[in-house]
Amino acid sequence: MTDSRSGQPATYLRVDHLTKTFGTFTALKDISLEVMAGEFVCFLGPSGCGKTTLLRIIAGLETQTEGSIEQAGRDISFLPPSQRDFGIVFQSYALFPNLTVEQNIAYGLQTIERDKARIRSRVGELLELVGLPDQGPKYPAQLSGGQQQRIALARALAISPGLLLLDEPLSALDAKVRGHLRHEVKQLQRRLDVTTIMVTHDQEEALSMADRVVVMNHGVIEQTGTPIDIYREPASLFVADFVGSMNKIDVTVASETAVSFGKAELKCRPQRLARGTEAVLALRPEDVIPADAGAAGLENAFEVTVRDMEFLGAYWRAWLTSEAFAGTELDAHFSINAVRRLDIAAGRAMTIQLPPERLHVFSADGRRG
């Protein structure tokens, strides 16, 4: 589905100035966003950020206090769920326990298809689609969690909804199954080209599955962007901290391209904060680059001491201190190779480099500087 005039994908779902209050508590504050046809969008945020409320309003399970929603050009703001066009999958699967897998999947088909043989073949198709062709006659309680979630997905897809809503669908599963199913759901979504919104608090899930991530906090959207954008260019200190991990250091702005803390002055990307203001410097642990001792001409190079190290399998985590940093400790992730090559060990001294283009400076209230 593309817009014939511009050649860009058409907007499928439009949320416009949406606000939801529960008594005096504001769950969603003036939310606007667009979802393109065929897009996979993740609402990511900590619990209580309003992401589930937003999903439930889109489904019609809650009613917004203000604002409107448009789906495929139709105003659905005040339609009950049964008159909207979506399929939904919940964390708890919500499979009907007294119906077989087949009956569960066929549950929504009865009203659109009278012919029993065609219902049966459609159910078979869907079971094939989710990779469980032989489980039809079983009851949900006889299946594993991962299998149950696939059945829930098949049931939601049975009526060929225009919009697929996934409410933390993988959270109840154990880690291995979760990783596997993540990939499968994503592939299925691409194959069917169904517009999908998933709610999750798991950043890894959001980054690996979504075309676009909507990071939410306290009822507002902090940032919308591709997974790489969100990770590389966090729009706020909250996003920087919530997605991946960050070293956060209180600094003072020294110039347009430098900040200082302790005895150190760090070059960074140009920013607009006034000289002398308090700011926060954010730096990912993997962006602390181990350098050869005595290498000359490096920007932001520091002599540090490794206070302690922790082996995490794929990489090492190290805590670094330096005279220049005063009391601040840096959290760094070093690859196995680097540790071996540079002979890094607890108690030893080493040189690190902090690449200026990877240093994010935020104002004290968490906005980008």
Binding site: H17, G60, F78, S82, F86
Partner: protein, 677 residues
């Protein structure tokens, strides 16, 4: 894309145009249906609980008094009409000891001729009579006269002219109540008897529950069954058994050493009998929450068994014990059948209500006593609700169930204790059955069916028995339906939060209302000719309705608990698949909740069979009931037939429970494929 951006900017520029929900949301048929049911069930509870109770409260503050100033009489001795005279004027002329009592009740009637000196119905005088004030009413025979015109009567007719009292509102009835020692004494009596019974019941039930949960004695299943017996019989039955055992001709009477069973002793023993199972169930639940890890920790820390009991077992069961105490107290203080049978001269509140209403036809005073009885019941109910909530929060923590280890000494002691309780419970039944099956206890012990010929005595005969079964079946069927739909609305409806919690509150209330109070309030509400529901009065329907309402709360809570276990998202999924709500209800909700639905229906059936209190004011000559027959036959002195009928109720309930067990087992077998094990 570009175009959309500009549109968004334009929107933002005029925030006043932001969308708010329209007044009338798009309501689909589902929603309409659900709202209709919500309204229907709320109305049902309002009409069968809230309004009757209100009618009773207002009755209790209504007083009736004749007003002699409101009537005028004129006499014609044969030589022309004399001047009209106010009745109040005539009253003043009477000697004080001849003046009629002016305080009366709803149905009070005062003959005018009581005020006429020298009146004789053979006299030749003519009389005229009129209402001298607006609102005054008098009757001439059956004719009700409300106008203020003069009406003429012969001396013979005039004796049928009676004045009706005026109603006024105030606390007069309460003042009268609290200044009548015979009535006020009952408060103390009721509280004393209920407190003593509570202490004994909780102690005995705790011992029994402890023996079952914490020891390895044999026959546990049998003991559990024995403990369920008292639920299956009317509360009058232990009273009848006690009469046979300790009454004037009882075979155990010497054990009382001169004390009489008719009074507090009998009430306490009988109350312990019928409240044991209720306390036992609550305490067993509390003990089953007991965490094995705490016991293991206590053993590892080398605590003595006594210390372990005091520091682990008792604290773990404390909410259960308190809750059991309040439930028992409420049961005993509101029970009417037992003290009626065995109370003798010892007055308690529940029997006072019955005496005021049935014996003295003083409905206002009955209402006052009802309000007095409501107070302890409501307090106990409230405390129990708070405690249950606490216990539930303790329950949510995961615990490892305690598995007792063998201990020959403790196991044997537990067995002896449980056998003793069993002898007491089974003894009551055996005595009743024996008395019912012999010709004339204790004189002629030959076997006879004579006591089963219920037509001989005042009780309604076998028809009362079939009426009871019919009523219990109706209560079970309609009650389960109403309760389950009500619980579904409370638990599963989206939105309408205020309405749902209001409905929940209404559903919880019946537990606080003693059956006798409910029954009396039904008289006030449904027997009022101005009430459009008046046609229900005296029918089977009102018996069914009163029983459903009386036993509503426990059924409602059972249904809510069952519904809570269903995934809250079923409704959302079903709506997203564009299926009507009734399909989900009939295909998933009801089938999954079938076992608790069966539990509710058997609970309603058994209680409808045994209840006396809620229906004793409401039955009519065509709708006599077995449980009421037990009461009336005992009242008429035919104790053996009362025992026989009581045992019929017991056997019927045993069969019903057996059928219920079979149905449940069959159901679980058929559905075990999908039930999560």
């Amino acid at each position: 894309m570009c175009f959309r951006r500009t549109a968004a900017v334009a929107d933002a520029a005029i925030p006043a145009a932001r969308r708010r929900p329209p007044l009338f949301m798009a309501i689909d048929r589902d929603r309409l249906l659900q709202l209709a049911f919500m309204l229907a069930i709320s109305l049902y509870l309002v009409a069968t609980l809230a309004l009757p109770l209100y009618a009773m409260l207002s009755k209790s503050v209504t007083t009736y008094r004749f007003n002699p100033k409101a009537f005028e009489v004129q006499v014609n001795p044969g030589d022309g009409w004399q001047a009209p005279q106010r009745i109040s004027g005539l009253e003043a002329a009477l000697p004080p000891d001849k003046r009629p009592e002016l305080d009366t009740s709803t149905d009070g009637r005062l003959a005018v001729v009581d005020y006429i000196p020298g009146y004789s119905f053979r006299g030749k005088e003519l009389y005229r009579f009129r209402n001298a004030a607006p609102g005054a009413v008098h009757l001439a025979g059956t004719l009700r006269i409300t106008d203020q015109d003069w009406h003429e009567y012969s001396a013979n007719d005039f004796r049928r002219v009676v004045m009706r009292p005026e109603a006024s509102h105030g606390l007069q009835n309460y003042t009268t109540y609290f200044s009548t020692p015979a009535l006020v004494n009952s408060i103390g009596n009721s509280i004393t008897v209920a407190s003593i019974s509570t202490v004994f019941t909780v102690l005995i039930a705790f011992g029994f529950a402890y023996a079952l949960a914490m020891t390895c004695m044999p026959f546990k299943g049998l003991f559990k069954l024995v403990m369920m017996i008292p639920i299956l019989v009317p509360s009058l039955l232990p009273g009848i058994a006690l009469i046979y055992m300790f009454g004037k001709q009882g075979f155990l009477t010497p054990l009382l050493m001169g004390e009489t069973i008719y009074g507090p002793i009998g009430i306490v023993i009988g109350s312990v009998f019928f409240s044991l199972p209720h306390a036992f169930i609550i305490i067993t639940t509390a003990l089953s929450l007991s965490d094995a890890r705490l016991h293991e920790a206590s053993i590892a820390l080398k605590a003595s068994p006594l210390r372990r009991f005091l520091t682990v077992t008792l604290p773990g069961a404390r909410y259960g014990l308190i809750s059991a105490a309040f439930v028992t107290f409420t049961l005993v203080i509101t029970d009417f059948g037992l003290p009626k049978v065995i109370g003798g001269q010892f007055n308690v509140l529940a029997v006072d209500i019955y005496k005021q209403v049935i014996g003295q036809q003083n409905f206002e005073m009955g209402a006052v006593v009802s309000v007095v009885l409501l107070i302890p019941a409501v307090i106990a109910f409230t405390v129990d609700r708070i405690i249950t909530r606490r216990q539930q929060s303790a329950l949510s923590a995961r615990s490892v169930p305690f598995a007792p280890r063998q201990n020959p000494l403790a196991d044997r002691a537990a067995l002896i204790y449980c056998l003793a309780v069993t002898v007491f419970v089974a003894g009551v039944l055996l005595v009743c059955q024996f008395a019912a099956a012999v010709k004339l206890w204790p004189y002629d012990l030959s076997f006879s069916f004579k006591n089963y010929d219920f037509s001989r005595t005042d009780g309604g005969g076998w028809e009362a028995y079939t009426n009871s079964i019919r009523m219990a079946v109706y209560v079970a069927i309609f009650g389960t339906g109403v309760v389950f739909i009500g619980a579904y609305i409370v638990e599963k409806l989206q939105g309408m939060k205020a309405g749902r919690s209001a409905l929940h509150m209404l559903a919880i209330m019946p537990l606080a209302v003693p059956g006798l109070v409910l029954g009396l309030s039904y008289i006030f509400f449904f027997n009022d000719p101005a009430n459009p529901l008046n046609f229900l009065y005296g029918t089977m329907a009102i018996l069914v309705i009163s029983s459903i309402t009386h036993f509503y709360t426990v059924s409602h809570l059972t249904a809510v608990t069952a519904l809570k276990q269903l995934d809250p998202e079923f409704e959302s999924v079903s709506a997203s698949l564009k299926q009507p709500a009734w399909r989900l209800f009939s295909r998933v909700t009801v089938p999954v909740c079938m076992p608790p639905l069966l539990d509710i229906s058997i609970y309603l059936f058994v209680n409808a069979m045994t209840t006396v209190s809620a229906v004793v004011f409401l039955y009519s000559p065509t709708t006599k009931l077995a449980s009421v027959a037990v009461l009336n036959m005992d009242d008429a002195g035919d104790v053996a037939s009362a025992a026989a009928m009581g045992m019929m109720i017991f056997y019927t309930n045993v069969i019903a429970r057996g059928l219920h067990a079979l149905a449940t087992r069959g159901l679980l077998k058929r559905t075990q494929g999908w039930r999560v094990r």
